[in-house]
Symmetry: C2
Subunit: 319 residues, 2 copies
């Protein structure tokens, strides 16, 4: 029942929160055979009421995935994977797996432990809001987003293409990376901003109600992600603790240098100049037209290494 055309493969999504639910919507819009599982009946009822194919029965969902040779997308919080993977081994052991979790090394370790025979290509769509749950889902969540796919020297090319087709169908551009590079990158640009946002929020609210009353754009934007549900923040950050510790230590060092400079010389010149340059470098990449990865045939010798090399120069794969 499997299709040879990777753009027609059925998609089975485990977990229908913001990311998984939005992916179910996006795949349905694209005419894929897409269906999902969620533990909560409320979520499943809401998905069905929106015209989607969803169930609270994990076993039945996985049996159906096995029958259709669907790609299984792990979209639960990372903390729930330990509960879900044994059922995958039991009911859909041969299916291709991917995930949309924000860390890759710890997920890969967990899969190696619980499902050592798995065909697995990790993924991480760089999309989200402070909202969570089915109510926040939209089919356009991934439009124009960067979608990281783990691209290791031993990654199976056909499986990679099948998962890449999901990302492209959802409107994203693919950024190939090794799991460890990805985890260091997201520690710096996603997990660390959560910690600085939380610390900034704490200091502002601790100052006075007058302070919160005067708070405007810099506080609103700088603390936005502190509004994400604490359990989701913790699941994400704590699963990437090694890389996050490094990024956090560097941040503390920079802020401590700024404090010393301000105390001793009355200036914050170094941090502000470096920060402004860094922000400009980001804007240059974020607002510029991304160059496509070129001259690589997926599956040819050295393809994964060449993909990663070009991605490190901010290029993207568009199929």
């Amino acid at each position: 029942m499997s299709s040879d055309d990777p753009t027609r493969t059925a998609v089975c999504i485990l977990g229908l929160g913001l990311i998984g639910g939005s992916l179910l919507r996006a795949m349905s819009v694209n005419g894929r055979n897409a269906f999902g599982y969620n533990r909560s009946a409320t979520t499943v009822d809401a998905a069905i009421a929106s015209g989607h194919d969803a169930s609270t029965d994990l076993e039945a969902t996985l049996r159906r995935a096995a029958e259709l040779d669907a790609v299984i997308v792990l979209a639960t919080p990372v903390t729930a994977l330990r509960a879900v993977l044994p059922a995958v081994v039991e009911y859909a052991p041969n299916n291709l797996l991917t995930d949309v979790v924000s860390v890759k090394e710890s997920v890969a370790r967990l899969i190696a432990e619980l499902h050592p025979e798995a065909r697995y290509v990790g993924g991480h769509p760089m999309a989200g809001t402070s909202e969570s749950g089915w109510e926040a889902t939209v089919s356009t969540l991934f439009d124009g987003a960067m979608w990281m796919l783990t691209t290791e020297d031993d990654t199976n090319a056909a499986d990679w293409l099948t998962v890449a087709a999901i990302a492209l169908d959802a409107g994203s551009q693919v950024v190939p990376a090794a799991a460890d590079s990805h985890d260091r990158a997201v520690a710096a640009i996603s997990h660390l901003p959560h910690l600085t946002a939380n610390a900034t929020a704490v200091v502002g609210a601790g100052e006075s109600e007058l302070a919160l009353s005067l708070a405007a754009g810099s506080f609103r934007d700088g603390t936005r992600v502190a509004g994400t549900a604490p359990a989701l923040q913790r699941a994400m950050l704590e699963a990437n603790s090694t890389a996050l510790l490094n990024a956090l230590s560097e941040t503390i060092d920079r802020l401590t240098q700024a404090r010393d400079e301000l105390r001793e010389r009355g200036t914050v010149e170094v941090l502000v100049d470096d920060g402004h340059r860094a922000r400009q470098a980001y804007e240059h990449i974020a607002t510029g037209a991304r160059q496509p990865i070129s001259g690589v045939t997926v599956g040819a010798p050295g393809w994964a290494q060449e993909m990663r090399r070009q991605a490190h120069r901010a290029k993207v794969w568009r199929g």
Copy 2:
């Protein structure tokens, strides 16, 4: 030539950057006699081309302000005040002064030093963008913003009402506060977020180009104010160094505690929980309907103290 109606007082704005220029636009929209000075001919030409009344001649502008008994709004960067105030003393010594600078104690000290006889009520509209200069000005910049007015026990009630009328005309709500409380508040909710934004930007950009390539909402919003021109950031932050040092030290302490907790117990629970609560407290104030300050007659005994007391409970003065 002065008017007894504070809502008709002429307004002379010194400095036509984002804040001063937007105020010139807002006052003109309201039919005030509003005119401005800027050092740069390019800015003045652009203001005139937009139909506004502007000049590069500081002496002539101030002589006209004196003749009209206009309120003079100091809207230059704080670092330029030392150059501008002697001209005010020379050509418009009796005019009521206000300012739109983001710190209040250091401005008050400077005015006490250079213009000890000044009639002065400090102000700080909590509005801005990462943009700067005349091109970024809009008449609606202050719509719905909180506009802090220094409200000390010896503040002159008539002068306070005249300056408050400008804030209300611009569409803002007035938050009365003492200069020192204001400076501690903005250190926490405006100046500190600049430092955390800069540090976050530096760590993200320093990690890898891959990291910047994957950066999405949390990095974009968390580093936005690092995009403000470094000279403007420095002028603002360095003028509030004492309060900022306290807020920064507290931030470093919180991040260091989070690092220890993550290293030793694998969790960021305390910071994330506290941060989420703090963000919710902010959202509650920012999105709620603000209660008006009530039961205060400006000029009655104890009016300033009562205004401050109510502002500390997040109430606003709407006239």
